[in-house]
Symmetry: C2
Subunit: 352 residues, 2 copies
């Protein structure tokens, strides 16, 4: 079956591009002796995780227990959860996960440590703990190297838990400064930092410049998107996921409506320097998807010389490809436009 | 089980509020002799559709074939699809749907008419057609009453298809003007307009003022959200869906991070006059969820006297509740905080 004949809307994945993207970042990591631990949040597919592992990745990264449980059920044996797991409802699911796979978890507070400690005891299984620090993203993470050390000292006291190192996102100058300072402080306290894990596709090819980094976590690179292109980390011909959509109305001269709205593309915008609207239309790059309802995308065609007809199928590179994967129960893979498989996105919707 | 003990993040639905919301709009429609045809896009649940039908609704509204197929499989016998169904891939699924339920479809162009005509022939089953007109939303719909008439005249020529009337969204002054003009024009052409279907929760209690309206389509009223409150169509105590989420980090004095990001709440913002950020926190209404990553919500607490602790569960009224239903495989229903059921959101993710 040719992908031109697919029912729309549907995301279609170019497997040759996927494999080239995997190979490229793995070669970079191999060259600089950095472990690669892909974040599966972008694809949410065990089959893609296995492609990454087969190419040389040292394990995978997940965000939530339920997401990791899908990957563990698929047989993946080394998983990092970059998330504060908190609360009594999490203890049993986390213990079940720990029994199935070798687990590391990044945390920034003692409440998370308490939950994880109870889960590890219940599972009677070692869990490695990393301390997350803030390095410019203003999201979470400990704020000082002293706070990181205090948390590491708490970790060391607990049965079944091992302090493994530090974790942050993204990785720039501020991360480098923190790592340097932490290494000195931890060394004085006789605590070894085995792993320094950093993340982020936009800066992925410069992490070797940050002294002390041992591991790179990246997700978006496998498909790429308008954000990745805008940040300079990929080119348009490295975008592996296109959303196929049909023009369903041409109400006026410069307006088209497509069958892909926020349920298909998400409402994520991009940096205004990277692009306008809700994604880039391959066939009409001058067009702007300026508004989304749930099932409708509204397009301004005023900058287009050629304009699409009703019934025409057009392809969209999403602004943010990870959230697109999350919206779809299934997607199609292809090579050179010939469908290989329809895949259920097993780890989509796993928010807990 | 008390909803305070639920694993997070999860949407929880107050059934008493749902039933009160259903009763209120049904009473309004009964009073003014307007048919009510709820849009199931908000709940995506056959059980909620049955509550609406039992209260007096004349049928339901769906947006896509696959969404309607879930409702038809659940036994619902009167469905309006407010969507241009276009392309050869749609013919067989649409024919299958038409065999299972009494179907009406709203269209604005002849390409859609051709697809639907082929499906009706394949199913050997009548499909009623409404002509969608634009009434201020600048999305789709025919632009003139003459264009509506021309399309109706095409519909009448085709086997298995019946022209049923007009459809629009939203319903304001412009809709009223169009309806009046169309009634005159169609009357001159000897074509009867049986149904005039209008939609939109914000204006739902004023549609009786628009002459000629026979049917109201509304969806959001069943749960309500920040948008509905802002538009004046509901109050906070009529919001039936709350997203339960846990505070997982307090990196600094005025910042909290919760386990609900764009995968849980969506990236939909609201009208700046209605509210700031990505939803209203019931327990901390002064707090602003100013940023979402996929699994993290970042909250500014600077306006709060009391501030939440790590591990605390807080409840969020979403900006746009329909897209929240779409993100979750399951949700919980309760009465007075005691869980009644865990429901699979059967019609979520149905984009085709």
């Amino acid at each position: 079956m040719d992908i031109k004949d697919l029912d729309t809307p549907i995301p279609a994945i170019d497997l040759d591009r996927v494999e080239a993207n995997i190979k490229k970042i793995q070669s970079y990591c191999d060259k600089y002796n950095i472990n690669l631990r892909p974040h599966i949040k972008t694809h949410k597919l065990p089959s893609m995780a296995y492609k990454q592992l087969k190419a040389g990745a040292n394990g995978i990264t997940c965000q939530k227990i339920s997401e990791a449980a899908v990957m563990a059920a698929a047989g993946i044996k080394d998983i990092l959860l970059t998330y504060n797991i908190i609360g009594k409802t999490k203890i049993e699911p986390l213990a079940n996960l720990a029994k199935q796979t070798n687990l590391s978890i990044a945390i920034d507070n003692k409440v998370a440590l308490d939950t994880i400690s109870q889960a590890a005891k219940l599972a009677k299984k070692e869990i490695k703990i990393l301390v997350e620090f803030e390095s410019g993203n203003k999201r979470l993470g400990v704020q000082t190297t002293q706070a990181a050390l205090s948390l590491a000292q708490e970790i060391i006291k607990l049965d079944y838990l091992t302090f493994d190192g530090l974790m942050t996102y993204p990785c720039g100058e501020q991360a480098g400064k923190f790592i340097k300072e932490a290494k000195e402080l931890f060394s004085q306290a006789n605590i070894e930092i085995n792993t320094v894990s950093v993340g982020g596709t936009p800066t992925m090819y410069s992490v070797h410049k940050v002294a002390g980094v041992t591991e790179l976590r990246v997700g978006t690179y496998i498909y790429n998107d308008v954000n990745t292109i805008g940040s300079g980390a990929a080119k348009l011909n490295q975008c592996a996921l296109h959303v196929h959509t049909t023009v369903i109305s041409r109400p006026s001269k410069n307006r088209a409506v497509i069958d892909a709205g926020s349920k298909t593309l998400s409402s994520d915008l991009t940096n205004p320097e990277y692009g306008q609207g809700y994604g880039l239309i391959l066939e009409y790059p001058e067009a702007v998807i300026y508004k989304l309802n749930e099932e409708h995308g509204i397009i301004d065609l005023s900058a287009c010389n050629k304009k699409p007809k009703i019934g025409e199928v057009i392809r969209i590179v999403p602004n943010h490809v990870c959230v697109v994967s999350n919206l779809h129960d299934e997607l199609v893979t292809h090579r050179n436009g010939i469908v290989e498989a329809v895949l259920a996105v097993w780890a989509r919707g796993k928010t807990r």
